[in-house]
């Protein structure tokens, strides 16, 4: 993995109801820009793309894109960014192939071969069967994949993804998210991902910046998101844990996966059968409401998984409690929704070792 170019942003931009004042320094592969809708996330992305004029400073590597004091404003066409908005914004008068190639001229000028990159992108995003379709004949998930592909074919040096999955329903989101992850792993360009979906942050982001009303209210590694679970769950106190996993074994009905991809942990999960080869990376979704806590090993249960874990925090969420626990000895943290009563009865507290009981059928295989 080559080092990723640093993006430095210090912006101020008046919006309708408040001013956007953001300082951002990102050198990680995928930085999540997280926050409620209307927090100014999209405006920030547009300013970085050069589509709106802001005051301040934007530097990418050693290039200056914006310096309002020096009256520098590099136009969007010379910033070399790939921009993917919520609704994809495909060109309706072009077919899929010509949409994908719309920015290929720039990639060619930069020294890449457009045919090679078209082939590569089509393979990565499985677009080959769509090439000759009209864009109006595409489904939502296909549209977003084409929009991503178009951005990639333009040979971008920085990817700006503005809630690329928000216009999709849950099923499609789960289908497209693995593509985004694959993209992240195969390209060595930095990505800014605007999202308000914890699932996307867990699956993709290394770092996260939280915006509220135009200000940065939190920043840090994306795993720290779990420290403020109350802000992430809906009225049903449900949180979807998304665990990147590696397929270890596939049987008739079920598969076994190891949690973690680049740094595999000692935690294994039995899941519904996964139609992927051994060693493939998959995303497993696990709702916080589908996990049972137990203080000892149970016998005679139908659930296939009993994962050893250590409680890290117990957070209030209305009348319920959200327990976060780290899996195994070096695994990720997951969130579990329990009642206050269960919490008291089991005497749960941070540091206590417990088991997470999970049915194989509760594991959702993304992209499946």
């Amino acid at each position: 993995m080559t080092t990723v170019r640093q993006l430095d942003v210090e912006l101020s931009l008046p919006l309708d109801r408040f001013d956007l004042e953001v300082e951002l320094h990102s050198a990680s592969r995928v930085t999540g820009i997280f926050g409620p809708s209307g927090a100014g996330k999209s405006s920030l992305l547009k300013a970085i793309a050069g589509l709106t004029r802001a005051r301040g400073l934007i530097r990418f590597g050693d290039e200056v894109w914006l310096d309002s004091e020096e009256r520098v404003h590099v136009p969007p066409e010379r910033r070399g960014v790939g921009y993917v908005p919520q609704d994809g914004l495909l060109f309706p008068h072009l077919d899929v192939r010509r949409n994908l190639l719309a920015g290929a001229g720039r990639a060619r000028d930069a020294g890449g071969s457009s045919e090679a990159s078209l082939d590569g992108v089509c393979e990565l995003l499985e677009l080959t069967p769509l090439l000759d379709r009209r864009v109006t004949a595409l489904s939502g998930g296909e549209r977003q994949r084409v929009a991503l592909g178009r951005a990639l074919c333009s040979g971008p040096r920085l990817l700006l993804l503005d809630e690329p999955l928000a216009s999709l329903d849950l099923r499609l989101r789960r289908q497209v998210l693995p593509y985004l992850r694959r993209l992240r792993d195969e390209l060595s360009i930095p990505v800014l991902l605007v999202t308000h979906e914890p699932a996307e942050v867990q699956a993709l982001c290394d770092e996260m910046v939280t915006l509220e009303r135009g200000r940065v209210v939190a920043r840090g590694p994306s795993s720290e998101m779990l420290k403020r679970l109350d802000t992430l769950v809906g009225p049903d106190h449900e949180f979807e844990n998304v665990l990147p996993c590696t397929v270890v074994e596939t049987g008739e009905e079920t598969s076994r996966v190891r949690v973690g991809t680049h740094e595999p942990s000692d935690v294994e999960l039995v899941t519904p059968r996964i139609d992927q080869p051994i060693g493939a990376e998959v995303l497993i979704g696990l709702s916080s409401r589908e996990i049972t806590l137990s203080t000892g090993v149970l016998s005679g249960v139908s659930a296939s998984n009993a994962l050893a874990a250590e409680i890290r925090s117990i957070q209030e969420s209305g009348v319920l409690r959200l327990v976060t626990a780290a899996l195994g000895s070096n695994g990720p943290e997951v969130a579990v929704t329990v009642t206050q009563r269960a919490c008291d009865r089991l005497e749960l507290e941070p540091g206590r070792r417990i088991y997470l009981i999970v049915k194989a059928t509760s594991c959702i295989v993304y992209g499946g």
Binding site: E77, V81, P85, L89, F91, P92, H93, A102, G103, R106
Partner: protein
């Protein structure tokens, strides 16, 4: 034939300025936009002879665009080129307005998208805006062309009605009726009706909204 030559030349002449004006009116806010828009609409509401007279004054030897001011002769009075100017001016408001509506129907976010893909403003306009607005723009051109074909008042004022030189379909009908040549007048009338009928039919077909083309949903 003179009509076709004049109308074609007039349409070609005004096309680029009209499209640029229409695009500016559709996209940007600027001081005096409403004033400009109103001025552009004037030829629609003024008596054509008034427009013709205004042009005549502008172009006459001592006018602001006349021989003595410019130092050379544009040679527009009583020539077919003068008819082109008159028809062009009269067709302009129709072309600008129809084109403006066509441009307004193009999602500006698609243009932004093109910019991020490496196209500068001009390339974006030529390669994305024009094709996206093509139906409305074609309608604008057709309407402008037929307006130019049928123009009478301003044309005769500035170019007269010299058979074979500056006499257009409109002025020919008038001349035929004046001298009582009803056969000639009927034939010309029939041509005028057919041209107009086809033009409106095609223009309306083109102007009907096609969601997949304009990019707005």
């Amino acid at each position: 034939m003179v009509s076709l030559k004049v109308a074609t030349a007039a349409t070609v002449l005004i096309l680029v300025p009209c499209l640029l004006l229409a695009y500016r009116l559709a996209r940007s806010r600027f001081r005096g936009k409403r004033l400009l828009s109103t001025l552009l609409g004037l030829p629609l509401v003024l008596p054509p002879t008034a427009v013709g007279y205004l042009l005549l004054k502008l172009l006459s030897a001592r006018g602001p665009l006349g021989r003595e001011t410019l130092g050379f002769d544009l040679d527009l009075i009583l020539t077919w080129r003068g008819a082109v100017i008159a028809a062009g001016v009269m067709a302009m408001p129709l072309v600008v307005r129809t084109a403006q509506v066509a441009f307004e129907a193009v999602d500006p976010r698609l243009e932004m998208m093109a910019r991020t893909l490496g196209y500068n403003r001009l390339q974006t306009f030529v390669r994305f805006t024009l094709p996206l607005a093509r139906r409305g723009l074609l309608a604008a051109i057709i309407l402008g062309f037929t307006r130019a074909v049928g123009e009478f008042g301003a044309t005769v004022t500035i170019a007269g009605s010299i058979p074979g030189q500056t006499q257009t379909l409109a002025s020919a009908i008038y001349a035929a009726q004046q001298v009582g040549d009803h056969r000639e007048a009927y034939v010309l009338l029939a041509i005028a009706v057919i041209v107009g009928f086809v033009a409106i039919l095609v223009a309306e077909h083109l102007a009907r909204p096609h969601a997949e083309d304009s990019g707005r949903t």
